[in-house]
Symmetry: C2
Subunit: 335 residues, 2 copies
């Protein structure tokens, strides 16, 4: 199994929902893992449950350097520049990855610091509206898409290819599916299916709230589900949307065109919303068909609905294979 091929210890910076859940999963798989959390209370909470966690960044990174650990930056975007500087200072030879929901900006920060040859971008599509160590749990990443970027691949040496391979193993170890994508295609895709969803949820929550007690009393499951992610900490929503602003604006403009068309026809004496209703229905049916095996099966043996491509990193044509997987939204495995 490829999942046994994660060799280096893992050092996680940030023990919130994502970092904490990663720490739990790796520890549960008996893989050496230790972590840092900025707030001492979060680190104490993790340590109190028997995990190897402290709130001293320098000590954590010096240990990562000594152990040649794979470092995972598991904080929101605003903390990334400071962590990159700390890695450059205290763990200057360690390879690292991240879990930030926007990839072009992180890639830019990495390149500006001359750290491109030891960075592989990552983004697990998992999470809830809750955050913090208290929200973390094992199994969060099971069958989730976890994007792994490869913009550096054409310029890479063997040590980067080894690092990239190690990150794939990390992803598979926690039960996620490794989806290769370049930073720009990733950012455009998540603007559509995640960041725009957050913007819409905020707006719906406010419009519903403005309706007062009667509207709130009548709000049922459709309103609850569609506003769920408005419960995300505002600073996290800001960080993801503002950092991916260009792609979010593009998705928003597409949405605004449709909303204005809907508004225009509804303002007419004989409204006809069939174009939007038909298109939305067809799109949702395609989504359900694609995700059917994942979402609906009650069988304990779940089968991924994503196409699988096996590849050997660094061999002739592997970048072409990655592009192919990216265009399909496919998952990869290492042989």
């Amino acid at each position: 199994m490829t999942s046994t091929a994660l060799k280096r210890p893992v050092c996680i910076l940030g023990l919130g929902l994502i970092g904490g859940s990663l720490l739990r999963d790796l520890a549960a798989a008996d893989h050496p893992v230790f972590g840092y959390n900025r707030s001492p209370s979060g680190a104490r909470a993790a340590a109190g449950e028997g995990f190897d966690a402290i709130s001293d960044l320098e000590a954590t990174l010096r240990r990562a350097a000594d152990d040649n650990a794979l470092i995972v930056l598991a904080t929101p975007m605003p903390a990334i520049p400071g962590l990159l500087d700390a890695i450059a200072e205290f763990a200057p030879d360690c390879g690292f990855t991240d879990v930030v929901s926007v990839k072009a900006k992180v890639w830019q920060l990495v390149q500006e610091r001359g750290m491109a040859d030891r960075y592989v971008g990552g983004h697990p599509m998992a999470g809830t509206a809750d955050s913090g160590w208290e929200a973390s749990h094992t199994g969060l990443f099971r069958r989730a898409a976890w994007v792994i970027t490869y913009d550096h691949a054409p310029d890479a040496d063997q040590s980067w290819i080894d690092l990239w391979t190690e990150v794939v193993h990390l992803i598979i170890t926690v039960g996620a599916e490794a989806i290769p994508a370049r930073v720009d295609t990733h950012d455009a895709a998540v603007a559509r299916v995640s960041h725009l969803v957050h913007v819409f949820a905020e707006v719906l929550a406010v419009v519903g709230d403005n309706g007062g007690a009667l509207a709130q009393s009548l709000a049922a499951s459709s309103f609850r589900d569609s506003t769920r992610v408005a419960g995300t900490q505002p600073a996290l929503v800001q960080a993801m949307c503002e950092t991916n602003a260009d792609a979010v604006v593009a998705a928003l403009d597409e949405a605004l065109d449709m909303l204005h068309d809907a508004r225009d026809t509804l303002a007419k004496p004989h409204p006809d919303l069939s174009a939007l209703a038909d298109a939305g229905y067809a799109a949702r049916v395609r989504f359900e068909a694609r995700h059917g095996a994942r979402a609906e099966s009650v069988s304990p043996v779940k089968i991924s609905s994503r196409p699988l491509l096996r590849l050997h990193p660094g061999t002739e044509g592997w970048i072409t294979q990655l592009r192919h997987a990216e265009s399909l939204g496919g998952r990869i495995e290492i042989f």
Copy 2:
């Protein structure tokens, strides 16, 4: 208990998700109930499960007239005018209610036919993206809000007040909560928390689909939940939004203002989405606080989070009580 005070047999016209579930609940409560479904296959399916259902409208309504049944129009809006005409012809003395998600238009159709003194509007806030008899099940209405209109109350005689009381009993018999509202306030409220949700879901589904295979592969639970109601039959979405067009346009305009503000700041060199993110978060937190007892409790004894007002229909000040309940989104019981 008031729930035992439903005295007349109930005749349900339309055995889809709502009508079928109502038929099942009333039968399960041993209350006399029979139904009509336009498609013979739906009526046969219900009859095949032992329910009293046929596909002959005239025969059904003549029986309702003989039994002095309470008639429930359980079809989407497009079928309502024809059913009202049939009731006028074959069951000219029966009182009736409906379950359509828009109330002003139905009220207008009723008034045009001079049937105001035997009509009480209703709208159960229950349902899924699925439809048809196959989707119906017992318990659909448990703890759901079920709006009951009272625009006719100031002009009403005792027989209308008795009908109104009977409809409250019907609502409570199936475990729902009777929320009084006038047709215009109802329509404005559901435009915000239901119809706009449908429009947003259609748009999000299309924008996500336009992102192609990668975007669809990366779509996770937030996208799934926020586009769920795009799986509703397009004709149903059209019927509800087009029939409530004025109120949907008003809600949409409020939403468009916020979306354009978001778009404008995201297009700036230093975007600041804090106003929207903070407002959306605060609105969602208030929603969760209001709905907490309903949505989150795992106790088998669920406590409604809606304020309760007990009233005696027709007595001095009862319309003032209804207005008060409406302004609170409160539920009523009869004493």
